[in-house]
Each structure stands twice: as structure tokens, then as C-alpha cells.
């Protein structure tokens, strides 16, 4: 941002004034840049204060601080925006605007065609390790309204660039969890903690999500799969400047995948017996 400053100041007083004005302008511009970094918030503020606008705002609140705003259905400390980064707007971090137009879709996970609402329920069951809210519940309605609002202007049924998490091409060598452990201590532990426990702000929820343990996603979640986690890491971690190599992402994902977490809700003691 180049401030508009007079080239040949005639009086020092006027120069000082102009510099002050220029400083104000550039300060305002940097504020605006900070705002622009979170375009979602700015666009949310522009929404009218009617019933639809309120539902979208509630969806945003639930999305970004799920344990607080959808306490009933959450079984761990995660929020939607822990995996769908930037409140569901960042490309290659499963953005909502790319997902909305692709449902109903066949999902191999359930072996049937699922609606967007049912996909949201699955997130609650697996990634949030909780109870799925009913498809007509307030929480699901708010999240759907928010996702639909993010997807406005984007063609329905057309695969968008940046949808879901990227897949990593074969690197030629197997993922090595031991190298992953080393890498974790060096690159991830500063934010996510030595034990992957995340970071909590006093009283409030997690500011950095836990990667394993009781407050993290369970074994049925998508990110519990090594290749999906590797894709997420490659595209998005470390958050300021993603710079992991393919092999590093795979190694890290293998290490994280080895850790303890809640069991897969699809598996029961008698499951194998009954299916045979």
C-alpha cells in the first residue's frame, strides 16, 4: 500500500500532517488486510439480520466452536474447523463450498447414497466421537445453511479444484512411523504438544486440536486413515507455511495413526459373528 504523499513538501508542518495521514491510511489498510485474511467473518457481518442470516451465523458459530455451541452431540474437544480449516473455506482442507454441490453422493464408508445432512451426522459420529444429531435438528439445519451460504455462486454437481484433501502420489518407499516420530518432535510438538495433546486456552476449548487420545477423533474418522491424513498434512501443515515433502507427510501420518484413540463405532464385539 503506497501512501499518497506530496513529493515536494513546502512546509514541515504540512509534511508532518501528511505523514500522519499516510500512517493512518496504511494502518487502516493493514487492518483491512487482517480482516481480508478472514473473509468469512467479514462476509458474515454483511449478512442481513433476518432469520436466514441468523441461522447462517449460528452455523458458523457451531462450525468454529463446536464443543461450546453443539455441546449435546460432541464427545471430544474437536471443532469442525479443526479439519475444515479457516471455518470451512480453505481449499484442500475439505472446504464446504466444494462439498455442498456434490451431495447426495455414494459413499463407500456406508455403501449407500448419503445426503449432505447424513454426511454431517457422520462427522459427529466419527470425527467428533459423539452422537449424531437428528437430520431435522437445529444443529444440522444451521450447519447446512452455513455450508450452502459458503457455496453460493459455485456450480452444483461440478467437481471443484481444492475439494476434500489432496491425494499423495506413491513415493516409492513405505511410510515409516519411526521417522514420523522424529519429525513430530521437531516440527509439530511446538504447537500440538509432546504427547499430541493439543493446546487449550484456559476455560475455553482447544486452540490447537489434539491429535490422539480421549479428546481427539476416533478410529472410524477419515483422518484416522494414513493416506488421507498424509494428504491433509501435505496441503495444510504447518499451518503458516505448508512445506512437508510427500514422504514426510506419509511418515507423520503413519506415526499419528499408530496412537491410541477411541475405537471405531462401526465395530462391535459380535459384528464379525453376525455378518457370517
Amino acid at each position: 500500500m503506497i501512501p499518497q504523499v506530496s513529493r515536494r513538501p513546502q512546509r514541515s508542518g504540512r509534511t508532518a500532517l501528511l505523514f500522519a495521514a499516510a500512517f493512518c491510511v496504511s494502518a487502516a489498510a493493514s487492518e483491512a488486510r487482517k480482516e481480508a485474511a478472514d473473509p468469512g467473518t467479514r462476509r458474515l457481518d454483511a449478512l442481513p439480520r433476518d432469520k436466514h442470516g441468523e441461522l447462517v451465523r449460528q452455523g458458523h458459530r457451531i462450525f468454529t466452536r463446536t464443543p461450546e455451541n453443539a455441546r449435546r452431540y460432541v464427545g471430544n474437544g474437536m471443532s469442525c474447523s479443526n479439519c475444515h480449516l479457516d471455518a470451512g473455506t480453505r481449499p484442500h482442507a475439505a472446504p464446504m463450498w466444494a462439498a455442498w454441490g456434490m451431495y447426495p453422493a455414494y459413499l463407500a464408508k456406508t455403501d449407500r447414497v448419503n445426503t449432505f445432512e447424513e454426511r454431517v451426522q457422520q462427522c459427529f459420529r466419527f470425527s467428533l466421537n459423539g452422537f449424531p444429531p437428528a437430520v431435522d435438528s437445529h444443529e444440522v439445519r444451521a450447519i447446512v445453511a452455513y455450508a450452502q451460504w459458503l457455496a453460493r455462486g459455485i456450480p452444483v454437481g461440478v467437481e471443484q479444484a481444492g475439494r476434500g484433501y489432496p491425494t499423495i502420489a506413491r513415493t516409492g518407499s513405505d511410510p515409516n512411523p519411526l521417522r514420523g516420530r522424529e519429525l513430530f518432535a521437531r516440527r509439530c510438538a511446538d504447537c500440538h504438544g509432546e504427547g499430541g495433546q493439543g493446546r487449550k486456552e484456559n476455560g475455553a476449548g482447544y486452540t490447537v486440536p489434539p491429535l490422539w487420545g480421549f479428546d481427539s477423533f476416533n478410529k472410524g474418522a477419515g483422518l484416522a486413515r494414513v493416506e488421507l491424513m498424509a494428504g491433509f498434512l501435505k496441503a495444510n501443515m504447518p499451518q503458516e507455511k505448508p512445506d512437508l515433502s510427500d514422504q514426510e507427510a506419509l511418515d507423520l501420518a503413519a506415526w499419528i495413526g499408530l496412537q491410541e484413540r477411541w475405537p471405531d463405532p462401526r465395530k462391535g464385539l459380535l459384528r464379525g459373528v453376525l455378518e457370517k
Partner: protein
């Protein structure tokens, strides 16, 4: 010791009994809290409200009604008929348990409270005594039928359509037979069976409702363990977020007067039904105590309790017959027992929250079937006797009106029929005499 001193101060200030009664009141408070806990959650589900609202409605309004009422042992709070009426009034206007729905429920509760205060203060409460017997019985049977009909889809584990008439729910349940979730049916059946079994061997602490909920939850947990919660796919109550001072304000939006007008019609009916139940219970307890009942003051107290419910995120309620009966038989002596039971229940909910989260809605539906069946049985008209044949059919007609046309219509047409009958008898008497 502190409780002892507190009891003495209270007895000085509010005219409670001597501190020696405090022990009885504490014990009765525990029993009532235990009876109230499952009902708070279940009745909230019946009213279409979030479970937290049921908890709040069983705490603050109960305290207000106990302190202001004339009867020393009447227990107020959420009530089956009032909960059914609340759902019937609000479901066409908003999705149950949504923010709009809760806001409307607060407005409705405030209206009901103000109407009851006005009725009690102006002596209109006396008119309640003239309510024909067959209307009261018919409404009770009708409410039982509505509960059974409404829970049929929940027992099957399929979604119901919010705002539809209860008899249509039965039709939808039959149509959704191929989509039913066998695990939900099993959990509901287990809770019904447990409730019936415990009802046979009545114990003080394990009431049928507690047993039904606990057995249903246990059954669901075992199913989860055996088959995996994804395959079992039961809807759960979920984690409660209880606030110790849940202040709220009923909103009256000027641009939505048409909604308020519709609410007012329902509020009148709810105020009448709620007042009727409160007065009937107060009269039967006063009979036990050998004191004259004071319906006017009871009505004002219940109205104040409903206003309190509107200010503390609850919903409308009335005197509760089954809880008052348990309260009295547990040895409650003074209003302090009701206050203690409310506070203890709040503490129990806070402590038991992680367990309550796993209660499946199917188990709550099974428990509600028990409640509905209890209502039907308590007022079974029996075989029609020769002289009472008209009353018998009138009762059934009122019950059918509740199921097919709603409670308001049933109360209105029932009273109209009662008045018409009165006029008819007077006219016949005048002609003969």
C-alpha cells in the same frame, strides 16, 4: 448444624414447621428429586423442548410455587397434559427444540402465568369447580392417547414430521414399518418391561420411570458394545449444558402479532387445564391435611411459577399429581421439602450428566408409553352403567376430540356440551315442575 440453624431462621421468616421436621423434609426432598429427574427430561421431550429446559422447569418454578402456594406439600413443575398442549401449540409454528421454538415457549409460558395470576386474583378460579367431570376425565384419556400416538414413531426409531396431528403420526408410523430400527424397538420394549416389572414390586427409590429409563439405556449400551454404535444407530439424549442461573426473557415481537394471537388462544386453554390440575391436587392434599383448600392462592402461585419458568428458560407447567403423591408419601411436611428437592435435582443432573448423555430417545419413548398407559388406566371409565351411559359416551367423545382436533377444541366443546346439558335439564325440570 448450619442446616439446622437455616431451618430455624426459615421457620421464623416463612412460617415453616419446627426444625425437627427438617429431617423428614430432607428425606422427602431426596425421593422427590429422584422421581423428578427422569420426568424432567421426558416431559421436555414431550413438549418438544431441549432437555435442559425440562431441568430448569423442574427447579425454579417448583421453588416459586412452593413458597407462594397455600398448600404446604403440593409439588409443581412440568406436567404431562401441559407438555402435550405446549407441543401442540408450538409445533406448527417452529421446529421443536430450535431457538425460535424455545423463544415461543417462553412467551407462551409467560402468557399462561399472567392469565393464571389474573384468574386467581379475580376469583375466576372458582369457575373451575364447575368444570364438568366428564370433560376432565375425557381430557386425561385424550392426553394418554396423544402420548401413545406421538411416541409410536420414536419407538420405531424413524423421524416424525414436526407439527402434524397426533393421529397422523400413527399413520406415518405404520407407513414407515419397513424402515424401523429393530434396536430402537428393542430398547423401548426393554424399558417398558422394566417399568411394568418394577411397578409390580413398588419400592421407594426405584420408581418405575427410573427403572424403565435405566433398563433402556443399559440395553442400548449393550447393543452398542455388541454391534457397534454406527450399526445400532440410536438417537441419544446427548450431553446437557446446565447453567446454574439460566436467565431468559420472553420476547414479544410487535411485527409478529399474528403469532402471538395464535399463542394466546393456546395459552388460555393451557392456563385452564394447568389450573384445573393444580386445584384438583391441592384439594386432595388439603383433604389429607384436614385443611380447607385455597384455590385462588394456589392459582396465583402456579401463575407466578409459570412466569418464573419464562424468566429461567423453562416452559409452562402445573401441579403434578404423581410427584405430589410421591412427595407426600415420602414424608414431606413443609414447603422446604419442595425447595430442597428442586435444588437436589439440579445437583443430581450436574453430577449425572455424563450418564444421562447416553439415554436413548427410544428408551424415553418407552417410558412415555408407560406414562400414557398410566393415564389411560387411571381414568378408565369402566363398564357403562345404565344411568351413566351418557357420561360414558361424553367422556369418550371428549377423548376422541383431543386426539383428532386438539385439546383446546376438546375443552371448549366439552364445556359447551356441559352447559347445553345443564340448560336442557333446567328446561325439562321447569316444564315438569
Amino acid at each position: 448444624m448450619i442446616a439446622h440453624v437455616a431451618g430455624r431462621t426459615f421457620s421464623l421468616n416463612l412460617g415453616f414447621a419446627r426444625p425437627a421436621g427438617l429431617h423428614d423434609d430432607m428425606r422427602a426432598g431426596w425421593v422427590s428429586a429422584l422421581v423428578m429427574l427422569p420426568q424432567a427430561v421426558i416431559l421436555a421431550a414431550l413438549a418438544g423442548m431441549p432437555p435442559e429446559a425440562g431441568v430448569y422447569a423442574s427447579v425454579f418454578p417448583v421453588i416459586v410455587a412452593a413458597l407462594l402456594g397455600a398448600s404446604r406439600r403440593l409439588l409443581s413443575g412440568p406436567n404431562t397434559a401441559v407438555a402435550v398442549m405446549t407441543a401442540a401449540a408450538l409445533a406448527p409454528l417452529a421446529t421443536p427444540a430450535s431457538t425460535e421454538y424455545v423463544a415461543l415457549a417462553l412467551s407462551l409460558s409467560a402468557m399462561v402465568g399472567l392469565l393464571q395470576i389474573a384468574g386467581g386474583a379475580s376469583g375466576l378460579g372458582r369457575l373451575l369447580d364447575a368444570m364438568p367431570e366428564f370433560v376432565v376425565r375425557g381430557v386425561t384419556i385424550g392426553v394418554g392417547l396423544v402420548i401413545v400416538a406421538c411416541q409410536s414413531t420414536v419407538v420405531m426409531g424413524v423421524l416424525s414430521i414436526p407439527g402434524e396431528a397426533p393421529w397422523l403420526t400413527l399413520w406415518h408410523a405404520a407407513a414407515a414399518f419397513d424402515r424401523l430400527n429393530p434396536c430402537a424397538v428393542l430398547a423401548a420394549l426393554v424399558s417398558v418391561a422394566a417399568g411394568v416389572t418394577v411397578g409390580r414390586y413398588r419400592t421407594r427409590f426405584l420408581t418405575p420411570l427410573v427403572a424403565a429409563l435405566a433398563a433402556g439405556t443399559l440395553c442400548a449400551l449393550l447393543l452398542d458394545l455388541a454391534l457397534g454404535s454406527d450399526a445400532v444407530n440410536l438417537e441419544r439424549l446427548g450431553h446437557l449444558s446446565i447453567s446454574l442461573l439460566p436467565l431468559s426473557l420472553p420476547a414479544f415481537a410487535a411485527d409478529e402479532l399474528y403469532v402471538l394471537k395464535q399463542l394466546l388462544v393456546s395459552a388460555v386453554a393451557i392456563a385452564v387445564i394447568g389450573a384445573l390440575q393444580t386445584v384438583i391436587i391441592a384439594r386432595s392434599i388439603a383433604g389429607l391435611d384436614g385443611q380447607p383448600a385455597n384455590p385462588g392462592r394456589e392459582l396465583v402461585a402456579q401463575g407466578a411459577a409459570n412466569v418464573a419458568a419464562a424468566l429461567t428458560s423453562g416452559f409452562a407447567g402445573s401441579g403434578s399429581f404423581n410427584r405430589s403423591a410421591a412427595h407426600v408419601s415420602a414424608g414431606a411436611k413443609t414447603p422446604l421439602a419442595a425447595v430442597l428437592s428442586a435444588i437436589m435435582m439440579l445437583a443430581m443432573v450436574v453430577v449425572a450428566e455424563p450418564v444421562l448423555a447416553y439415554v436413548p430417545t427410544a428408551a424415553m419413548a418407552g417410558t412415555l408409553l408407560l406414562v400414557g398407559w398410566g393415564l389411560l388406566r387411571s381414568t378408565s371409565p369402566g363398564r357403562p352403567q345404565r344411568g351413566n351411559r351418557v357420561t360414558f359416551w361424553a367422556t369418550l367423545a371428549v377423548a376422541a376430540t383431543v386426539l383428532f382436533a386438539g385439546l383446546e377444541a376438546a375443552v371448549f366443546w366439552g364445556c359447551a356440551a356441559g352447559i347445553a346439558g345443564l340448560v336442557w335439564r333446567c328446561a325439562t325440570a321447569a316444564k315438569n315442575g
